[in-house]
Structures are given as structure tokens and as C-alpha cells.
């Protein structure tokens, strides 16, 4: 493969700016005359910036809206409101040729390597398909040659170009998905739970591959996962989502060592640590109950129904995700504070 797509561009500058994106799925009643009776607020005002060459991890439990966010960024869903600026253009307003051009720059790796590859297409066809959709980005010479290169880059045997997905293992299939995402030389790759479906011994191989590709091509990743340990390992910055909102965002160190939001603290303390000695020294926070329905989120702070710090103000006033006195990274809690060291 060749040098990074755009060597002139500066590492660290903002490449994608997402501003207050909202996605409400309507709940309708009635067969003929459908009327809307409510909305599932899957993503409810999310803002963040992605910088060139960095990995932004997005963590949260099921139903927090992290996958919907990924689908919105890929324009697989139409947002209810908000902007996402990529290359100076609003991705959500773009249409036709412009949208196609923007999409080329942002590709996705899906969670399930078993259902995200067409079983009737050869690996060569799967990886080469982006060139059919974007003929102007297709390699000048032989498409096959380029596909072989891509297979080699992701650590698969280029001789296997004519094989079918079922002839590969889960980890190898995920590599095929990564090769497909790399085909158009994007600058951003959205990874939606890319290793959750894989066995532990295979996970590390795929994580290492993603890191190596990032170094090689200067890629920026949005890395969505529920596994906090994996996210810490791969991310430069981390956003924590709860019920459609980012409740805390900061550098990997700020989130994992100096979290000020109670939800982040609870989430971190719930992660099982593979060390029987460390466990006993850990001061666990046990949340009670389940995540409320996004169709009917609590008023004010969404987390207040499970929060041990909740007061009057939490029900009436929505805390903004802003820097707090306790630590200068944004946290959406009225009572943001560092956790006392146990």
C-alpha cells in the first residue's frame, strides 16, 4: 500500500465535528391513520470532535445510542437534527455526488463478521465492491491487484481472493471487513463493536491490526464498544454515553483515572478485573435497577434514577456536559467530583 492518504494534513487537527446530533425514532399507533404517540430518543443531543490520527472510544451499555450514533455518522439513518462537519461540509445536509464523496472518506467496520459479509460473494468481490460504487476512486490499473494488496495489508493470504466468507474464521472475516473499509483509502473508520463477537485469543490480533493500520495510514477511528478494558487500550480519548447523551468525555487518562461522573465511576467499578487480589482492594459501586427506556427517559439528568447522589436539582435541571471544578474535562453532573481513593 502507499503512503498515508494525505500526508500534508496535520495530525491532531479536527477532522470531524459533530454538533448536537439528535435521532428520535417515532412510535406510532394505528394501522391506516398512523399517528405518533411518542419517540424513542436514541440519540439526544450528542456533540464531539474527532481529531486526525486519534482514536475516540465511545462506551456505554446497550440502548445508550452508541450504535445509532455510528449509523447516523454513516448516513444509514437520517438524523432528526444536528450537524456533522467533515471536510468543511455538513455531512447531514449533503446530497447526491457530494454525499458520495464524503462517504468515501468515512468507512465502517461492523460488529458481526458472520452477517456483515455476503455469503454468495467471493472475498475479492466483497473487498472490490467499493470500487464499483465509487468508480472514480477505483484504482487505475488492475482492481484485482489492489484487492490482493489489501488482503496482504490486513494479514490475509492474497491467494485466497477467490474464496467465500464461510471458508474463513471469525477473526479472519473481521479482517476482510477491515480490508473492505480500507479500500477507498478513507481517513475515518467507524468501528462498531469490532471485536465483541471474537474469542479472547483472536480479539488481541484484531486490536493490534487496527493499531498498526492507524500508524501506517494515519487513520482516525471512532471505536464503539461496551468493553471498557478494550476501549482503554485502544483509545486516545473516550466518550461515555448514557441514554442517548454523552455524560463524560476526556482523554483516556481523564476518564479512567479521574472520572467525575457517577455513571462513569459505577461503570468502571463494575468491570471484572482478571486478578483475584486486585478485586478485593477495589471499592465497588453497585448500581441498582436497569437503564430506563429511551422512550420515556427521566426528566433532568437521565441518570438520576440510578444515582446515589441525586438531589432535587437533578430532576429539574438538565446538567450540561461542560468542564467541572473537580477536573477540567467535560462531565454532565451537578455534583461532579473525583472518587476518593479507597
Amino acid at each position: 500500500m502507499t503512503a498515508p492518504a494525505n500526508p500534508a494534513k496535520v495530525r491532531g487537527e479536527t477532522i470531524l465535528a459533530v454538533d448536537n446530533v439528535v435521532k428520535h425514532f417515532p412510535i406510532t399507533r394505528g394501522v391506516l391513520l398512523q399517528r405518533q404517540v411518542g419517540a424513542v430518543k436514541a440519540v439526544d443531543g450528542v456533540s464531539f470532535e474527532l481529531r486526525r490520527g486519534e482514536t475516540l472510544g465511545i462506551v456505554g451499555e446497550s440502548g445508550c445510542g452508541k450504535s445509532t450514533l455510528a449509523r447516523l455518522l454513516m448516513r444509514l439513518e437520517t438524523p432528526t437534527a444536528g450537524r456533522a462537519v467533515l471536510e468543511g461540509r455538513d455531512l447531514f445536509a449533503a446530497k447526491g455526488g457530494e454525499l458520495r464523496r464524503l462517504r468515501r472518506n468515512m468507512q465502517m467496520v461492523m460488529q458481526d463478521p458472520y452477517t456483515s459479509l455476503n455469503p454468495r460473494m467471493t472475498v475479492g468481490d466483497i473487498i472490490g465492491e467499493p470500487f464499483e460504487i465509487h468508480p472514480d476512486a477505483a484504482p487505475k490499473g488492475s482492481k484485482q491487484k489492489r484487492v490482493r494488496e489489501l488482503l496482504d495489508v490486513v494479514g490475509l493470504n492474497p491467494e485466497h481472493i477467490n474464496r467465500y466468507p464461510h471458508q474463513f474464521s471469525g477473526g479472519q472475516r473481521q479482517r476482510i471487513g477491515i480490508a473492505r473499509a480500507l479500500a477507498l483509502r478513507p481517513e475515518i473508520i467507524v468501528c462498531d463493536e469490532p471485536v465483541s463477537a471474537l474469542d479472547v485469543s483472536i480479539q488481541a490480533q484484531v486490536i493490534n491490526l487496527l493499531e498498526q493500520l492507524q500508524d501506517e495510514f494515519g487513520l482516525s477511528y471512532i471505536f464503539i464498544a461496551h468493553d471498557l478494558s478494550v476501549v482503554r487500550h485502544i483509545s486516545d480519548r473516550v466518550a461515555v454515553m448514557y441514554l442517548g447523551r454523552i455524560v463524560e468525555i476526556g482523554t483516556e487518562n481523564e476518564i479512567y483515572e479521574r472520572a467525575t461522573h457517577p455513571y462513569t465511576q459505577a461503570l468502571l467499578s463494575a468491570v471484572p478485573v482478571p486478578d483475584p487480589d486486585a478485586r478485593e482492594n477495589r471499592n465497588m459501586i453497585r448500581l441498582t435497577g436497569d437503564v430506563p427506556s429511551p422512550a420515556d427517559p427521566p426528566s433532568g439528568c437521565h441518570f438520576r434514577t440510578r444515582c446515589w447522589k441525586a438531589q432535587e436539582i437533578c430532576a429539574t435541571q438538565d446538567p450540561a456536559t461542560v468542564p467541572r471544578a473537580a477536573d477540567p474535562h467535560p462531565s454532565a453532573c451537578h455534583f461532579a467530583e473525583l472518587r476518593p481513593v479507597a
Partner: protein, 345 residues
């Protein structure tokens, strides 16, 4: 390997009267159209009253199949139990007539599954489903069963139990459904609870709740538990002993602390080094090269040898027996002592 003696059975002394549950040299294969898959190749483990044994392995390692064999819920065919014994309180379950086997299943040994949504019947209320065994097998009246069901739902900490008897599985969240499953398993006061990936489908905060609940129940009801999982983190919190499976064999069997401190099998060592840890920063992830074997073509000698950094010619030629190390644990590796010494560094 001077002080490592070769013995076929794992360590830890046998209590008077024998182990509560003991699997001895179990061999199971699946006969399919494509060939014979050797899924379990000589698994032995035991469980004593009041303890928690974790069985750890990746997909295809045979950890769930062993549990299904214990429960007697293997689909035969395609599964065939070639040889071995499963002794519960001294009786071999595999040779027991089905009528007596039924008395053990559910009543003495109960199981909960990973996916509570598909394990529950969507068309019946949960109260009815939890009470089904009580009515069918204990011959309880509806009213008695109902009272006991409320008790069980309280026990697994389902809030407002009495008011939720008539709710259907889809009206419960994932964590609550898993609690319903646990309540069902506890209905007959089993002595052994097998939990097959009980929290894999759940979020971390809910996972923590369920693992706490299982640990409390195990203690309060004085059960023994077999926890089947692929998650090294989950195991560390609750298990007393741990058996690591690979390609249908137990490759290492040790108490939890020594295993995590210094694994004595290259596979365990590789696993522990390949998981990113929340409490360790800037760690380089080492990987286990290659893929788990195809069970229809298990490599000669030690099945792990194609992926093993310690592999020598002897590993290709000779199947390693369980080596008992000086601290009482076993490792099925020709170089067990060396691996452990490396890990301890």
C-alpha cells in the same frame, strides 16, 4: 521438571465419601455428515459441596458440552458419549435409567443458560413458568406453587415479585430475565448449580449485579456451583478453582490465585497476556498466533502445539499428561514447570 510427577488425575484430596460431582475421563464426539468432531477428549474434574469451580474456554473448547452431558441434555445423535463416567454422589449418571436420571436433573443439579430470552417460553407468564416444576414434579397445588414462586422471585431480588407473576418474559429486562432463569433453577433446591455463561449477554453493571447474586445464593443456599465462561475477569471474582479447557481437554487446573499469578500452561499464559486490562496502562497486547483447531482434525501430540511458543518436537509426537506441580495444580504441558517459572517472573 524434577519435582513434577506424572499422575493422571488432578490434585486436591478426595473428601471421605467421595466428591459431590465427578467427571471422569469423558470422551464425546459429534458425528456429522462432514465427519467426526472430537469435542471432548478425556475431561476429568470434580466439585465438592459449597465450592465454585470455573470452567474457562473459548468457543469450541467443549466447556458447554461437558455441562450438557452432566445434565443429560445432549442431543444424541449427533453427540455420542464414547466413554467416561459422570458420578453424582457416587452414582454414575451415564448408566442410570432415564427415570432415575430425571430425579437428579433439576432436583439435584440445575442449569441456567446464557440467553434467558430464548430459554424462556414467550407465550407463558413467568410466574407460571417458574412454578411449572413445582406443580409437575412436587405435585404442589396452584396456590402453594404460587406462594413458593413469589418466595423464589424475592430470593433472586426481583422487585415487586407478587405483582409481576403474570408478566411475560418480554416485559422483563435482560438482567431481570436472567433472574427469572435463576429462580427457575432454584425451584427444586438443587445442590449443584451449573451457570453456563450467565452474564455474557448482559451489560457490565447488570453483569456485576447477577454475579453478586449468584455468589450470595451459592453461599446462602449452600450449593456448589460450576461457572462456565470465557471471561477471565468474571472468574477471578467468584471461583475457588479454575479448569481451563482447550480443544476438548482440560489443559490447566488450579486454584484461582496461583493460576492468575503464574499460569503453568502456555495457553492460559497466552490468554492472560492477550486481554486488555482496565487496571494496567500502556500494556502491549501479545497474541496467541493462529486459530483454535478444527475438532475434526485435532493436531497430533499436544493440540496446542501449532500455536505454542514453547513447542518442541516432543509436543508434536507425545500427548502431554497432566503434570502435577509442587503447588498441587495440574498442567497438561511438557514444559509446565518452565512456563510457570517464566510467568512468575
Amino acid at each position: 521438571m524434577t519435582h513434577a510427577a506424572v499422575r493422571p488425575t488432578p490434585a486436591s484430596p478426595t473428601p471421605p465419601g467421595g466428591h459431590l460431582l465427578e467427571v471422569r475421563d469423558l470422551h464425546i464426539e459429534f458425528r456429522t455428515g462432514e465427519g467426526v468432531a472430537k469435542v471432548i477428549n478425556g475431561v476429568s474434574y470434580h466439585l465438592d459441596a459449597g465450592e465454585t469451580l470455573a470452567v474457562l474456554g473459548e468457543s469450541g473448547s467443549g466447556k458447554s458440552v461437558t455441562a450438557q452431558a452432566i445434565m443429560g441434555i445432549l442431543d444424541t445423535p449427533p453427540a455420542v458419549i464414547r466413554s467416561g463416567e459422570i458420578r453424582y454422589q457416587g452414582r454414575d449418571l451415564l448408566t442410570l435409567p432415564e427415570e432415575q436420571r430425571r430425579q437428579v436433573r433439576g432436583k439435584e443439579i440445575a442449569i441456567i443458560f446464557q440467553d434467558a430470552l430464548s430459554a424462556l417460553n414467550p407465550t407463558f407468564p413467568v410466574g407460571w413458568q417458574i412454578g411449572e416444576t413445582l406443580r409437575q414434579r412436587e405435585g404442589m397445588s396452584r396456590a402453594d406453587a404460587r406462594a413458593r414462586v413469589v418466595e423464589l422471585m424475592d430470593l433472586v431480588r426481583i422487585p415487586g415479585a407478587a405483582g409481576r407473576l403474570g408478566d411475560y418474559p418480554h416485559q422483563f429486562s435482560g438482567g431481570m430475565r436472567q433472574r427469572v432463569m435463576i429462580a427457575m433453577a432454584l425451584a427444586m433446591n438443587p445442590k449443584v448449580l451449573i451457570a453456563d455463561e450467565p452474564t455474557t449477554a448482559l451489560d457490565v453493571t447488570v453483569q456485576a449485579q447477577i454475579m453478586d447474586l449468584l455468589a450470595d445464593l451459592r453461599r446462602d443456599l449452600d450449593m456448589a456451583m460450576i461457572l462456565i465462561t470465557h471471561d477471565l475477569g468474571v472468574v477471578a471474582g467468584v471461583a475457588d478453582r479454575i479448569a481451563v479447557m482447550y480443544a476438548g481437554r482440560i489443559v490447566e487446573h488450579a486454584d484461582v490465585r496461583s493460576l492468575y499469578r503464574a499460569p503453568a500452561h502456555p495457553y492460559t499464559k497466552g490468554l492472560l497476556e492477550s486481554i486488555p486490562r482496565l487496571d494496567v496502562r500502556g500494556q502491549a497486547l501479545s497474541t496467541i498466533r493462529g486459530l483454535p483447531p478444527n475438532l475434526m482434525r485435532i493436531p497430533s501430540g499436544c493440540p496446542f502445539h501449532p500455536r505454542c511458543p514453547y513447542a518442541q518436537q516432543v509436543c508434536v509426537d507425545v500427548v502431554p499428561h497432566d503434570l502435577v506441580l509442587d503447588d498441587g495444580r495440574t498442567s497438561a504441558c511438557h514444559f509446565a514447570q518452565e512456563v510457570r517459572d517464566d510467568s512468575a517472573r
